[in-house]
Amino acid sequence: MIRDILREVDYSTFATLALLLFVLAFVAAGIKTLWLTSREESCEQANIPLSDGKRSDQ
């Protein structure tokens, strides 16, 4: 029966589903990034690589 089901499935819908999945993921990431992250938080994170840490001789 499983074999019959697999044979009958129209796999071309996978392409549409894939696009839908991407749009959802993109919108979620967009909302999180653009609206739900504060500017201060974002600036703080962006500055992380500029400092190697506090040296003992400084």
Binding site: L6, R7, Y11, S12, F14, A15, L17, A18, L19, L21, F22, A25, F26, A28, A29, G30, I31, K32, T33, L34, L36, T37, S42, C43, E44, Q45, A46, N47, I48, P49, L50, D52, G53, K54, R55, S56, D57
Partner: protein
């Protein structure tokens, strides 16, 4: 506060290895480029042929040069972004020496013809196992444990790119290299034909994505702000860049297989996602370039920034071109031509090369704790490299388009405008010569870098300073800032909860929890992969069975292994697309069912020589013998090297039963008789071919030589489609071997 010191030694080691292997990769690249204009440059030696050395060049460039560069970047930046030393110095050293051992194994095995013949995954199974151990067991464990032990709560975006790299490369490597060993130096993939092609290009495309793109983007997000001394233009854009790229890239592999035996929907899906990839790619490029806003004056003075700016520009250029080449109508012209080679080199030399050089010049004074020896030499390197890249890609673009148009060209009466394939090859010679010159210039740039590295190293202090840094440990009972309560009123409690959920405080938690973060990266990668891979493996209609397609005879099987070993796929495709000019030139287009016994598939990706999918029966055995001995004696202007040694070397018949058993184990329907009498059957077919050669006025005594096996295979390729389906035979009769022999004897 906790005290810690960074491990600079491991960065110094990887930078040195990058330089050494980079020079090797450039040198081998120039040598194989030279062979295309001077085929005699192989000096008749088997280990110097294009088919064997081209994989050495690509592997050296990707895994030795770029690989060591990303490790240098990762070891330097991860420690600083985590405010922690690498978790284990022992693992760091095991990683370094293990990786160099892998490179040495590749440098020895590939020229010896030990290959799986899958592009960028040529290394045989023992080396693959070593790669898995070094990548996951040494590098991966050390990296993730450093994240766990870090003292900076937020995982900076560069670390996200590194996580995606480590996780995805491990997945790709393992699943593309599932094989059944036939011996220490030979294996057959568990996939065949269409599935093998699909898995290979799922791997091949994503090797570019997750070995040559994501780690270099991590490098860019760390080293560019450092060099410019300012934060990245938009951190928010970098987050969008990351998720879009990771999510999109993994779907795009099928664009390497347009117009082949792949299902239409998979091919279209690959194209659409490839086109969409343009957006995040350019988002990253723009983010990088805008980081320099207000600091462009520094670019004119600082060679490091010059390398980064040009590197990013090439990233933008090749990530625009990539989606364009994935569009089916463009791909119809560009595929198999040198256009792809130009595209790859604009990315490799421009993006990977220049980002690496920029990083090395920035690192040198820091890791050797002294002034850079010569800024002027670095400037010269920059200009020499830039000119070299342009001199390389522009003629090769021209060559590629010329090739495509000449192959496509039809006269008004519908005949091929350039029926002799070699005409197109000869037309490209001037472009190929320019490429050699360009390669020498790029190598010259590498030589200037080498001088700078050695002289800087020579002026290092007697003892390296090892400063101690302080940072508080991350508290175990850290609590995230509270998410504001919902301001919704007059709604159900569920709606209020949804409102709070949608503020995505949970994502903020992930960003500081590396294992959760890694889990979601795996989900994004695996989901996309499964969406494509499962249907391709499940649909029966994808690979309709062709009754007349039978397994290779024992001699053909070993002949095919010689074809694989010599790397013939580097110049010859075995995939005729359903395009008029192709079917006119090469014969009936290829059907998926023709490849069900092909392990590994041999579709190839470029045509320096003609397609061989319908080669069987086109020429006599003697023609093949003479052609393999001295190609230009039969095809004037041919740039194929001589394979004369195949005529002298004995064929090891004793290995044949193992090969047949392995093929049988993987599903090839050999009879018991064929399995038990494989050597006798091979001898019988070899004697018949040798006899035919004598009848055709060729030399005698070839029945135990390797060339006979290769001829047996070449005469079989693409012929099954036109044979009658075999009549059901008694169980013990070798049904596959007999008809082929009789056909070839005609």
């Amino acid at each position: 506060m906790e005290a810690y010191q960074y491990d600079e030694g491991i960065t110094r080691q990887f930078v040195t290895a990058t330089l050494v292997w980079g020079m090797v990769a450039f040198l081998v690249g120039i040598y194989v480029a030279l062979q295309l204009v001077v085929p005699q440059a192989t000096f008749g030696l088997d280990f110097l042929t294009f088919g064997r050395l081209r994989p050495l060049h690509t592997n050296a460039a990707i895994f030795a040069f770029a690989g060591n560069a990303i490790f240098a970047a990762i070891y330097y930046s991860t420690q600083r972004l985590c405010k922690a030393r690498m978790w284990s110095d022992v693992l760091s050293q095991l990683h370094f020496w293990g990786w160099q051992l892998i490179i040495v194994c590749a440098a020895v095995s590939l020229p010896l013809g030990i290959t799986q013949s899958k592009e960028y995954a040529e290394l045989e199974w023992p080396i693959d196992l070593l790669i898995a151990v070094v990548w996951v067991g040494f590098f991966g464990v050390n990296f993730f444990m450093t994240l766990v032990k870090r003292r900076e709560r937020h995982l900076y975006v560069a670390l996200w790119f590194y996580i995606a790299t480590i996780v995805t490369v491990a997945l790709l490597h393992v699943f593309n290299n599932l094989v059944v060993p036939v011996g220490l130096f030979k294996s057959y993939p568990i996939y065949a034909g269409v599935q093998d092609a699909f898995m290979q290009w799922w791997y091949g495309h994503n090797a570019v994505a997750f070995f040559l793109t994501t780690p270099f983007l991590g490098l860019m997000y760390y080293f560019l702000p450092k060099a410019a001394n300012r934060p990245v233009f938009s951190y928010k854009l970098s987050i969008l860049h990351f998720w879009s790229l990771v999510f999109l890239y993994i779907w795009a592999g099928p664009h390497h297989l347009h117009y082949t035996a792949l299902p239409e929907w998979a091919s279209s899906l690959g194209m659409v996602f490839s086109v969409m990839l343009w957006m995040p790619s350019w988002g990253g490029m723009i983010n990088g370039l805008l980081t320099l806003r207000g600091a462009w004056h520094k670019v004119t003075e600082d060679p490091v920034l010059k390398f980064f700016v040009v590197g990013l520009t090439f990233y933008g250029m090749s990530t625009f071109e990539g989606p364009m080449l994935s569009v089916k109508s463009v791909n119809a012209l560009s595929h198999y031509t040198d256009w792809t080679i130009a595209h790859v080199h604009s990315g490799a030399l421009g993006w990977n090369g220049f980002m690496t050089f920029g990083m090395i010049y920035w690192l040198l004074p820091r890791i050797f704790q002294t002034e850079l020896y010569s800024r002027k030499l670095a400037e010269w390197h920059f200009w020499l490299g830039t000119i070299a890249i342009l001199l390389y890609i522009l003629p090769i673009y021209w060559a590629g388009i010329t090739q495509g148009l000449m192959w496509y060209g039809l006269t008004e009466t519908g005949h091929l405008m350039y029926p002799d394939f070699v005409e197109t090859t000869q037309r490209l010679m001037p472009f190929y010569w320019i490429r050699v010159v360009a390669g020498v210039l790029y190598l010259g740039g590498g030589a200037l870098l080498s001088i700078n590295v050695v002289r800087t190293w020579m002026s290092r202090p007697a003892v390296y300073e090892s400063p101690v840094y302080y940072a508080p440990a991350l508290s175990r009972d850290y609590v995230d800032p509270p998410v504001a309560e919902s301001e919704l009123t007059a709604v159900l409690n569920v709606a209020r909860k949804l409102d709070v959920f949608s503020r995505m405080g949970w994502h903020r938690r992930w960003e500081r929890l590396p294992m959760y973060f890694t889990f979601w990266v795996i989900v994004a990668v695996v989901a996309a992969s499964l969406f494509e891979i499962i249907p391709t493996f499940l649909i029966r209609s994808n690979v309709p069975t062709i009754a007349s397609v039978q397994p290779y005879t024992p001699l053909e099987l070993v002949g095919r292994d010689i074809y694989v070993s010599e790397g013939c796929y580097n110049c010859h495709s075995q995939m005729i697309r359903p395009i008029l000019s192709e079917t006119k030139r090469f014969g009936d287009y290829s059907k998926p069912g023709e490849f069900v016994y092909d392990r590994p598939f041999q579709w190839g990706s470029r045509r320096i020589g003609p397609d061989l999918a319908r080669e069987g029966g086109k020429q006599s055995h003697l023609w093949h013998l003479v052609h393999l001995r001295e190609p230009s004696s039969l095809v004037k202007g041919s740039i194929m090297p001589s394979f004369a040694w195949l005529e002298q070397r004995e064929l090891n018949f004793k290995t044949i039963p193992d090969r047949v058993r392995a093929a049988s184990f993987l599903g090839a329907p050999y009879t018991d008789s064929e399995l038990q009498n494989a050597i006798e059957l091979a001898h019988a077919q070899a004697r018949q071919i040798a006899k035919d050669i004598v009848t055709q006025n060729g030399p005698a005594g070839l029945e135990d030589k390797q060339v006979v096996a290769l001829i047996a295979y070449l005469q079989r390729v693409g012929t099954d489609l036109f044979k009658p389906a075999p009549v059901a035979a008694p169980a013990e009769q070798p049904v596959a071997a007999q008809p082929v022999e009789s056909e070839q004897a005609k």
